[in-house]
């Protein structure tokens, strides 16, 4: 199957990225990043949930179909979930979802699962920078408002 390259070259593309953060680790880590004044790109918007396991795949799919350039789920490190096992379930779902998204042509980097503890302000900012860089390199999400 040979298809023409449709990748657009855009200058000054600033991707919009959504990050679901669990209340206990990732959100606290993001808070710590703030308190520590770790400077980072402005692309990421955080939605707080109590556990990464609260984020249903539907919401990730919806966000990407809405045209958001990337979606992240950030939770506690395995074994450190405030609810013991929420992040393990998230991890299983995320593996399946990431592969499914990739199957229809949504680049894997557009959906990321990362572990950030309450003490990892620096990691939070690193994760944000990395996501912003990678998604910027991918260019705009072509599935948004596709007709």
């Amino acid at each position: 199957m040979k298809l023409p390259d449709t990748k657009e070259v855009q200058t000054e593309f600033k991707p919009k990225i959504l990050a679901f953060c669990c209340n206990w680790c990732a959100y606290a880590g993001a808070d710590l990043a703030g308190v520590s004044r770790f400077q980072m790109p402005t692309n990421v918007r955080v939605i707080r949930v109590m556990c990464s396991g609260r984020v249903p795949p539907e919401l990730v799919i919806r966000a990407l179909a809405n045209g958001l350039d990337g979606v992240m789920i950030l939770g506690c490190h395995p074994g450190e979930c405030h609810y013991s096992e929420g992040n393990y379930l998230t991890r299983r779902r995320a593996h399946v979802l990431k592969r499914l998204l990739s199957y229809i042509g949504i680049e894997p980097d557009r959906f990321q699962l990362r572990w950030v503890s309450a003490a990892e302000g620096a990691k939070f900012s690193a994760v944000v920078k990395e996501a912003a860089d990678k998604i910027t390199a991918l260019g705009p999400n072509r599935w948004g408002d596709k007709r």
């Binding site: 710590l32 308190v35 520590s36 004044r37």
Partner: protein, 435 residues
């Protein structure tokens, strides 16, 4: 049946913690604070080590909770005058000083502060800024009401003949110069002392030139300077010319561990100097900070890692030496720190833009008065004496009277909070026995 009640003296973090614990347990608490707002020393801090949590941000919710708790009667701008009675049934007289402002009517809008023409040094800003005769100590004050300082208010001094700007401009009609000091009498089962600390005046250490060399300041002054809510909005401005310093020297053990001054270790200065050096380096990435220390006492959770971060990430230089003298370069006002290099054993010097003295901390001035009132023993350094320090670490020699936080020994915030809760537990236990 009336609730059993407790008197907590001191509205800093320790007093607030004790008061909240007891109030949540269901006791009636009288929280007495001599200044116009609770919050204590912690409210003056910019950040707290080792997390760099914004101090006010974590303190404010507790202050507000204390301010609105139905079981806490907040008595600010008040001092204990007399304690009589016996353990389990102390009769306490509290002087509620005239604020010249009706606390019920005042909205804390601050118009009186704007209009008041008379100024004095701000205690909160450690003399780095002025405040008015009509003032609210700091923006998050609890209660958020104005106070009029009778020592400088011309209206009061002239017995109503002059000024009165505040009366004119207060829409709420809250200014009330007819207020008199009131004596409030309460009966309490138990008393908790949490009177905190004062800062040791470093001008007694003549070799460091505090008060003479403009660019030698204290750690608390630095704290206000680096704070976003400080007089310079977080900009470091050295006193001689307002320029931002490019290098800074912190001197540890100023008055502490010193045979001429205080023999004890003030316990928190190593860490707060490190914190201030980190904060300065964060604000000014090119700034160089030097910390002159005796022993680097980093004994708490994550403290060693904090020091390591200061060294590695912020390039803070730790120099193990106690400087012998600070002189001033007359050309540029730079302080020159004279010290002995530990290994080379040479007297050498370092010229910096500003020096921060980490002064000793001493029990608060009211401690002595209170101890006399209560007939309570103080130790050689005026800290509250704890007879069985190991197994009853918050019990004073008087049954039913407990002491927590800095008033009984130098300690950091978490240790003070622990002791404050411990004192609350002991008070609750004491009153349970006194059925």
């Amino acid at each position: 049946m009336a609730k059993k009640s407790v008197l907590v003296i001191g509205g800093g973090i320790a007093g607030i913690q004790s008061a909240l614990d007891l109030a949540n347990m269901g006791f009636q608490v009288y929280l007495v604070e001599k200044t116009p707002s609770i919050g204590g020393r912690m409210s003056q801090l910019d950040k707290t080590f080792p997390t760099n949590d914004c101090s006010m941000c974590i303190l404010a919710p507790k202050m507000i909770e204390a301010g609105r708790h139905p079981n806490i009667k907040l008595l600010t701008y008040s001092e204990v005058e007399e304690v009589a009675g016996d353990p389990g049934k102390f009769r306490v007289k509290i002087r509620k000083k005239a604020r010249s402002v009706d606390e019920e009517k005042c909205t804390g809008c601050g118009v009186c502060m704007q209009k008041c023409p008379y100024k004095t040094d701000s205690e909160f800003q450690v003399g780095l800024a002025k405040r008015k005769a009509a003032y609210i100590t700091f923006p998050q004050a609890v209660p958020n009401v104005a106070t009029i300082d009778p020592d400088i208010c011309i209206y009061i001094k002239s017995e109503g003949k002059k000024c009165g700007a505040c009366i004119k401009f207060c829409d709420a009609g809250a200014i009330d110069f007819s207020q008199q000091d009131r004596i409030i009498e309460v009966e309490v089962g138990s008393i908790i002392l949490a009177t905190g600390f004062d800062l040791y005046d470093p001008s007694g250490l003549e070799e460091y030139g505090y008060g003479k060399i403009k660019n030698v300041i204290t750690a608390m002054q630095f704290e206000r300077m680096i704070s976003a809510s400080g007089p310079s909005g977080g900009q470091l401005q050295r006193p001689s010319d307002g320029k931002a310093p490019k290098n800074l020297a912190f001197i540890q053990c100023v008055g502490s561990r010193d045979t001429r001054h205080k023999l004890y270790c003030s316990s928190v200065c190593c860490m707060h100097a490190t914190k201030e050096a980190i904060l300065a380096s964060e604000h000014y990435p090119d700034l160089k900070a030097f910390i002159f220390y005796t022993d680097m006492r980093a004994v708490g959770k994550r403290f060693q890692e904090y020091i390591a971060r200061a060294e590695q990430e912020y390039k803070v230089t730790y120099i193990r030496s106690r400087p012998s003298e600070i002189t001033e370069n007359p050309d540029n006002g730079n302080p020159i720190v004279w010290y002995e290099e530990t290994t080379a054993r040479n007297r050498t010097s370092m010229e910096v833009d500003m020096v921060v003295l980490c002064q000793a901390m001493v029990p608060s001035g009211e401690q002595k008065k209170l101890s006399e009132m209560l007939n309570l023993k103080l130790n050689a350094y005026q800290f509250v004496d704890i007879p069985d320090r190991l197994f009853h670490p918050v019990d004073t020699e008087i049954p039913g009277v407990f002491a927590c936080g800095f008033c009984q020994a130098p300690q950091d915030i978490p240790d003070s909070v622990v002791q404050a809760s411990a004192a609350a537990a002991r008070a609750a236990e004491f009153m349970s026995k006194e059925k």
